[in-house]
Symmetry: C2
Subunit: 473 residues, 2 copies
């Protein structure tokens, strides 16, 4: 779309990277997380990795250069882990080595409530402008891009995926990547960008809008640097692909926290809400909702409508999930009498009911469930199916897999709600089941309310898209 994209292409495909300021003494120090990440992702198989610390020596078998000048190579990308007061000098030194972009993880700039920090950040930006270097940060974790083998953590998935995530918070990036990854969502590029003294949310948004590897854009934003640019970028991106936004700092206390965290100007809640409505952006309220919506967008085939067929075990659970779903606008069509009659022919009446939710408490035998699904598939008057299970004594956890594994041949999109347990022995069994279903590619949710909210948000998004397209014709 514009000039900044070219610079960012270099960020996501560096041939040489230097981690400057990495600690040599303490393997537990946070700066070592970057080395762990780059080694776990085997960056050296793809590009050249250099470490810099005035003390020299070796770390994890890699030589440590005493200064950036000593590196016998040009540098494409630099990760700055130096103390904040050394940051402007690093810009100069990195530029001399050919670097076009530096990510500063270093904190202690405008986000600390002292004049000194603000002054230092201005000085940093002046140095960058002077040497034609772009800056990501400071006060952030930078880049996770599995395709380029760049990662700020060794435990993230190695595989790429369709989601691009722009996050003003490093901790929130970590949380979302891990939560979404456990549920089968993979990322094209994640950018934790902190204070945004130079490259900002709009630059990254424009880049991901044009990035062919990114099909869905997620954002955690605390504030924006340039309102007009952001509005343009958001409209542009949302025209091209689904955009999901979590806005941090929509209350007085949240706004104050934003000031301390990334020194951003949060803006009023209603402005953000109307901006999302106008542009068709899906707005969520917390990270779990963001994960739920991404799971839905990535893994649930687009249903033809919002008529859901619910299938699970437990009378009380059935009542509560029906309320939670319908309260949030998901529709539950009633089963016609002829279908109920057909089901009753081979299922006992006691302890089962077939009113949508279909409660299968007392008839967990696979053969019966299979026949039931065949009857339901023949009827077919619903758009997608939701299978649910809650760990209780009456629904033994050992039944979970036997029960769920049959829900495959329904010929409609299928979502699964599997409420986890915090009790270790159950948690382990449920986690195995979660992994099985995630590996099979099903969208998985951890609560009735979470599933209902995400389904409603995504269904509304699809409906609005169709309505917009019809208006345009």
């Amino acid at each position: 779309m514009n000039r900044s994209n070219e610079n960012l292409d270099a960020v996501f495909h560096p041939r040489s990277v230097a981690l400057v300021g990495i600690t040599t003494a303490n393997p537990q120090h946070w700066t070592r997380g970057f080395l762990e990440g780059y080694l776990a992702f085997d960056f050296p198989s793809r590009g050249r990795l250099y470490l810099v610390n005035p003390k020299g020596g070796t770390v994890e078998g890699c030589p440590v250069y005493r200064s950036i000048q000593d590196i016998p190579d040009t540098l494409d990308f630099v990760v700055g882990l130096v103390p904040s007061r050394s940051a402007p000098q690093l810009v100069e030194d990195a530029a001399a080595k050919g670097a076009r972009c530096i990510h500063f993880c270093t904190a202690g700039f405008s986000e600390i409530d002292e004049k000194e920090g603000k002054k230092l950040e201005e000085e940093l930006l002046r140095a960058a402008r002077r040497h034609n270097v772009r800056i990501i940060g400071p006060n952030c974790l930078g880049i996770y891009c599995p395709e380029a083998r760049m990662s700020f953590s060794g435990i993230f998935p190695r595989e790429s995926g369709p989601v691009g995530f722009i996050s003003q918070s490093g901790g929130n990036s970590n949380y979302l990547i891990r939560q979404a990854a456990l549920r089968g969502v993979r990322f094209s590029k994640v950018i934790s960008f902190g204070n945004a003294c130079d490259l900002n949310e709009s630059d990254f948004l424009e880049y991901l809008a044009d990035d062919p590897k990114t099909q869905i854009i997620a954002m955690y934003l605390e504030g924006i640097k340039d309102g007009a640019q952001f509005r343009r970028a958001l409209r542009y991106a949302a025209e091209k692909k689904p955009v999901v936004l979590l806005k941090g700092g929509t209350t007085t206390a949240g706004t104050r926290a934003v000031m301390g965290h990334t020194a951003s100007l949060a803006g009023s809640r209603s402005i953000w809400e109307s901006l999302c409505r106008q542009t068709g952006v899906i707005q969520v309220q917390n990270l779990d909702q963001l994960a739920d919506v991404l799971v839905t967008l990535v893994l649930l085939p687009v249903p033809d409508g919002r008529q859901a067929l619910l299938f699970g075990a437990g009378g009380g659970s059935s009542v509560i999930i029906a309320d939670e779903f319908e309260r949030r606008g998901v529709l539950l069509p009633q089963l016609p009498q002829h279908v109920i009659k057909e089901l009753r022919e081979f299922t006992q009446a006691e302890g089962n009911f077939f009113n949508n939710p279909i409660d299968y408490s007392q008839s967990m035998e696979p053969s019966n469930i299979r026949r039931t699904l065949e009857v339901l598939a023949r009827w077919g008057q619903f758009d997608f199916m939701v299978c649910f299970l809650v760990p209780t004594q009456s629904t033994r956890v050992s039944d979970v897999r036997r029960f769920l594994l049959r829900v495959e041949d329904i010929g409609k999109p299928l979502a699964i709600v599997l409420v986890p347990s915090i009790v270790p022995e159950e948690a382990n069994i449920i986690f195995e089941t979660i992994k099985t279903y995630t590996a099979a590619g099903y969208p998985l949710y951890f609560s009735f309310a979470g599933a209902a909210k995400a389904l409603n948000l995504v269904l509304t998004h699809y409906e609005c898209k169709v309505a917009r397209q019809e208006r345009l014709r």
Copy 2:
């Protein structure tokens, strides 16, 4: 309060109980759960336990009588596990043995969508009236009363506690008892009462309102049998102790599910909402909210107001928790400059901020946290404290306990939000931490939103109570 209380007193203090219709062949059969429960709770140390099945023999070392007539004893309480068509006969036989109350677990009555079931339930009630026997159920799990050593599960806590729970669903009873128990909430009496053909929600409510062992009443209701009686009972109970209500079937689909589950008439949502408002009953939307509210009522000392001080790790987490709390009406007073200055004297500025939430990302050392708490305690301009932690890579799970264990000497009510992980190795560590804090008596929550909702509901309840008392003076 009335005649029915006397009958119920016998239910909760039986000297002899018979489990009639227990399966002798299959130890996995659901009827065996009751024997497991009564044996795990050592009922025989308190009263006489009898088993009945036409096949005779022994089960778990207990003799099985071929018929109830063969039992050489009078019976106070009978648990009916027989097929539905044998239920009316059991009433007659139990009455002949002196039983004043029978709990019918058996399903297959009015809740199944067939005339036969309805007719059978009417027949059952007629038999009960004829023989002056009261019925709990049918289609329910009956009584959990640790003090009387009665339980429909072997895994519930042995200790009694202040919460009485009246639930129309057995599965929901199981779920709530376990969830609440894991978080330190104990029960005086739990009644799962299903179809309520005889004893109904109002009878149990009146009983618990007068029960000196019950300080808080929780309810999961799908419908009511007698509107006028229920209104009276609810008003009476809510005058005497906090009442928390989860109403199942507040939507069209939920109401339909209620019909299939317990054949109750659900009633409109707005009627229930205004009834709760008028009586000062706390209304919740799902079982996790119900558990959150009970944890708050039981374990959080009543705060003087709704000014919260938030203390945790993570910039992004701090922003989101601030939004989640303030959005739901919990107030976060700003720290005055002199307090921030005092804290800055011994804490680095980078990676920590002190704006409430207090973000302690980079300074997890116990000595620093202790000094911080001392400064905050001296300041003291808040009503309660909330400590929060999210498992992410940057907040290592091993830090969790070190971090939290220091938050003790603040001299104000303390709540803890500890977001669990579904990853087994983390889940185990977090579960141990949950147990530690639960054992120490702290109220514990599993999400920012959940904590905020529950705190707001309970604070509002306390405020309304004060307002009502002032109006009455």
